[in-house]
Symmetry: C2
Subunit: 124 residues, 2 copies
């Protein structure tokens, strides 16, 4: 290892994100892999809208985690990688507090720069 | 087959798009699978911006096809499907007229409604 540490490639970031999230370490994944100015884009129909900055996105993640009463299973695909971007599919079978059991299915797209996730966008 | 034809599922639309595009029938895929009000979103950095309607998106496709001098190979992944959305990775090794040989790598995300693609977004 030289003094200048080499940034992770898009494939390496993708693999790391998938690995951590499959272990349930979704918030840890953000801490480790998000760039400071991460932009997080939800669909137009979502009240969350677009958030910028690691703190705001962490807060969104915390709020979502706190709404989950129970997780009954799910599936995170292997990543598709193309240049600076990758995508995964994410299926969740969860019970949300006060909302009952629901299946969430989404496509997630991530942009990587200098070994960090600088943008994420969710489709559902 | 009943009188009311059943719409293709997201998985079926995804498979059909990938199959046609792997055969090089990209424009045919649009004719067959796009909804009339298809919305096509390029990255902010692209001059194409966002286009709406089958005619406008077809025109963009035609213009891109006309700029290709030679195709040297490429790869279209199998689709990742989640609910009404799917994504693919698309790698192209092409020579563009007057611009030389280039490798294009992108993630493509599609939204399906009633068996048609109603929105597509490209990440590169």
């Amino acid at each position: 290892m030289t003094a200048q540490q080499k940034s992770m490639t898009t494939q390496e970031v993708a693999n790391r994100l998938v690995s951590l999230c499959r272990e349930g370490k979704v918030l840890d994944a953000g801490e480790e892999l998000y760039g400071e100015n991460i932009v997080s884009v939800e669909p137009d129909k979502s009240p969350s809208g677009t958030l910028t900055g690691k703190k705001a996105v962490r807060e969104k993640g915390n709020q979502f985690a706190e709404m989950i009463e129970a997780s009954h299973g799910g599936h995170i695909s292997d990543p598709l990688v193309a240049g600076d971007h990758f995508s995964i599919s994410w299926l969740m079978d969860i019970t949300m507090k006060g909302q009952g059991r629901t299946k969430m299915e989404e496509i997630c797209v991530y942009e990587v720069k200098d070994g960090k996730i600088v943008k994420e966008q969710f489709f559902y």
